[in-house]
Every structure is written in C-alpha cells, then in structure tokens.
Symmetry: C2
Subunit: 155 residues, 2 copies
C-alpha cells in the first residue's frame, strides 16, 4: 500500500513537447466503484495492472497496485468494465527536478490534456512549468473515473 | 483467467466431520460490485487474495484471482469494504474422488453451512455425499456477496 499525493493541472500550450522523455499508450477501465473505493484495470504498453484506490479526499489517497497478465487485463476491459474505456497517451516530461506525466486523451475525451505531478509529501516544493495552466487537483470532473462516466466531449 | 464451475449444496448433518483433510480461517469482504463484476478481498490463513468475478450466470463464471500481501488485504478489509465482512472456516472434505469445500459461517452468518464442489466441466459426474442436502447453486441468496449484503441471521 502507498498513499498517492498528486497535483493536477490543465495544460495551456504545447511547449512541453520539447521535454518529452518517453511515452506509453494507456487503456483503462473501471470494474466497479463505491463511496469507499474504485477498482481500475489498465493496459500500459504491454503490461497489465489492477489498481484499488481509496475514495478521493483532496490530494492524498490510499492506493494498491498489482501487475497482472496482459491477457487478463484485456479480457477484463473487454467484458467486465461497466463504464467507457479511457484511451490516452501518457508522456513523461522533464521540468527542473521533477518528471511530470502529461495525459493526452483520445476517444470520447479527445481534446483534453492533463498534467500530473506525484509528490512525496503534501508540502514538497516544485516549480510550475510555463505550459501548466489552472490547477484542477480538487475538481472531481477531472478524475479519470469521472472521465469514464462523463467524458470531456460531453461537457 | 479461468472459468469457475461450481455446484453448491446445503449441509444436512455433521457426518462430514470424519472426512476433514484440512481447514482455513477465512475473512472476506467486497470492495465493489456492478451488474458485470464483483471485486473480493480475502484473507485465507496467512495469505491475501484479490479476486475479480464476472457477474454470475448459472454455475459458470469468469474469475481472476491474484495473491497480494497479507497487510494489503487486511488494510482493504478494514477501510475499503462497503459491506459486512464475511467470517467462515473452510474445511476440505473428501468424498470419493472429489475434495469438497465446506464453509461453516460465523458472525452475522452463524448457523449457515454450505458445501461447494468445483468441477472441470458442467457435465462432470460426481457422487452426492450423504451429508449433502438441497442444491442451491442457482439461489442468489447463498452467493457470498449476497451474504455480505443480507446475512443469514436476518433471513
């Protein structure tokens, strides 16, 4: 188990593209969620993952993640997911000491680009890159679970 | 991934106790469920498991099970389960060529004893032991998920 501390920002220009250090295609879906937990299946590149997250409370929340066989993850996405499957490309983008993750969404969330920074404590200092726009860490519409329920194209 | 073929029976006497080959204390809870899937956390003896089951359709259903750290399983049962945690002792009971699992429930399901037999195909023959009573394979009240929602003591 770990506790995830994550800051999330909109992205206001494309200057981040010069600082890309790597990328992965991601497909993810949600098997189920309650007021206490959500259960996510993800295919990232050629690997599968199953992730349990505690219900969100600000920027910290419990997270349990396990690697699973790729074929299991694909079968679960195909048959057991009850919401839209999220498609995105995740870019790793360097900014100063930090490696950000920029998600460029496709499918029903096309047009949305989100930048995430994982921190080791809630008060860890970081520099805001010039491509970073409004902070949306606490805006529930931008949770991936929300984007599976109510995709960006329908806003 | 596997497909689980399971027959389930009530237990009408205690003659099975002479044929016990082993036992485990089990605690299990449900993180979430939808019309397509349920997500179960289990502590069995000193091991943890996370299990995804496809929605039930008769005696066959998709099942994905993964071993997880015991401390993760305990933390999830303590904090993320939204229904009652099921307590039971599972006995392995020999009958002819088959090894049955008999669940003796405790806590809110005390008084209930269920016998389960896992088969490799839906038409695999088996002998019904003399302690086996009515078949309840298709009775949704006896699903463990149902017993977490509506325990036996409240029937």
């Amino acid at each position: 188990m770990g506790v995830e501390i994550e800051r999330k920002f909109l992205v206001k220009n494309t200057s981040w593209r010069d600082a890309v250090e790597g990328q992965d295609a991601i497909l993810q879906g949600y098997l189920a969620e309650t007021e206490r937990a959500s259960v996510r299946v993800r295919v990232k590149g050629d690997r599968g993952f199953l992730t349990i997250k505690g219900a969100a409370a600000g920027v910290s929340r419990a997270e349990f993640e396990y690697g699973i066989p790729l074929e299991d993850a694909r079968a679960m996405l195909d048959t057991l997911s009850s919401l839209a499957v999220i498609e995105k490309v995740r870019y790793r983008v360097r900014s100063g000491r930090h490696l950000w993750e920029l998600d460029v969404f496709a499918g029903e969330n096309a047009g949305l680009v989100l930048a995430e920074l994982e921190l080791t404590s809630e008060d860890e200092p970081f520099e805001l890159p010039d491509w970073a726009g409004e902070e949306v860490s606490s805006d529930a519409r931008y949770y991936n679970l929300s984007l599976a329920r109510n995709p960006f194209s329908r806003w």
